[in-house]
């Protein structure tokens, strides 16, 4: 497989991998490293790519596992990702589209959700995968996904309502 063939396969979903990694790891740099790692792993196993039924779902599963492992090892080392040095470079873009502050809040509140709910919310509401695909990626049945998704959406909304009505978090 040549490099361009590989890129043709990988291109459509590399952003999704990156966004999922960023959702879980929060920092942009960490997410970039993780994405790089995932793509390199795929590249090194490029002979096997044709055997995979669904490269995209496979990569998303890989990303999820990779990021969760990373988080686990961070917890084990008693280290936490420091957010103080992390600045969203897209803030100006945010202003351009005249989004109000609450959009920023959504991101913060999503960070507080349990990992599983974060992943499901990310895959469904942002990446718009259907339940069948999510089920394959996470190895879960669809009812469980719906339940978890519903919980995530409700708690996101409740927390947002709180910040809206009091103006504080």
């Amino acid at each position: 497989m040549t490099q361009s063939e590989f890129l043709n396969i990988v291109m459509p979903f590399k952003d999704k991998v990156f966004r999922l990694a960023k959702r879980l790891l929060v920092s942009k740099e960490e997410a970039e490293d993780a994405t790089q790692e995932i793509l390199l792993k795929l590249w090194n196993n490029k002979q096997k790519i044709s055997e995979y039924k669904n490269v995209e779902a496979f990569s998303m599963t890989m990303t999820k596992n990779f990021c969760l492992d990373k988080l686990k090892s961070k917890h084990a080392q008693n280290l936490k990702i420091v957010h103080s040095n992390y600045q969203d470079k897209n803030v100006s873009l945010q202003k351009q589209v005249e989004l109000n502050d609450s959009v920023g809040w959504v991101s913060k509140i999503m960070e507080e959700l349990p990992e599983q709910q974060k992943i499901i919310l990310q895959l469904r509401d942002i990446e718009q995968y259907d339940f069948e695909e999510i089920g394959k990626m996470l190895d879960m049945n669809q009812t469980a996904i719906r339940v978890s998704l519903s919980r995530a959406r409700k708690s996101l909304r409740e927390k947002l309502t709180k910040t809206h009505s009091y103006g504080v978090k």
Partner: protein
């Protein structure tokens, strides 16, 4: 879109029962400027979803192609193996050249026996010949004895010569 309809969709959405199409409808609805105040929360949610969906991975991935062993390299390895095998088996054949009678087919064995008989006959006659040659040997022995006697004769003659000289 009718607000009523949107509210129904929102409820379904909260229960995780909406389809992707319905969610798209919601996203479209909430991307407009003004929404009823009680739905303000959803507006920020859906806008956030749309906004984060735009984020892209911009870093380059250094794809170094691992050194792949081409077919030719494997063929050369195979060729060496074949040559080694060839030499080895040839060697084996030379080693196992001496065959025993048991290896032969019945026909070959018969031929072998026949040849053996012929050779035995030949060699026995040959030995007969050598018996006769023994007689010749004996003659030559006697002949040698004769030459020994001749030595005496020559001695006698030399002494007679001496006698003749002194006289």
């Amino acid at each position: 879109m009718v607000l009523n309809n949107i509210e129904k969709l929102i409820e379904k959405y909260d229960n995780g029962e909406t389809t992707l199409q319905e969610e798209q409808q919601l996203k479209d609805y909430f991307s407009q400027e003004t929404v009823p105040p009680h739905l303000e929360v959803y507006k920020s949610m859906f806008q956030y979803f749309l906004y984060t969906h735009e984020e892209q991975f911009t870093k380059d991935v250094p794809l170094k192609s691992k050194k792949t062993y081409s077919l030719y390299q494997w063929i050369s390895v195979a060729a060496v193996a074949v040559i080694m095998l060839g030499i080895f088996t040839q060697f084996e054949i030379f080693q196992t050249q001496p065959q025993t009678l048991a290896d032969l087919t019945p026909q070959e064995r018969a031929e072998y026996e026949e040849a053996k008989e012929v050779l035995a006959l030949f060699s026995s006659n040959f030995n007969n010949g050598t018996d006769k040659l023994m007689a010749l040997n004996m003659v030559s022995d006697n002949f040698d004895k004769g030459t020994d006697n001749m030595a005496y004769l020559s001695e006698v003659s030399s002494t007679t010569n001496k006698i003749l000289k002194t006289n």
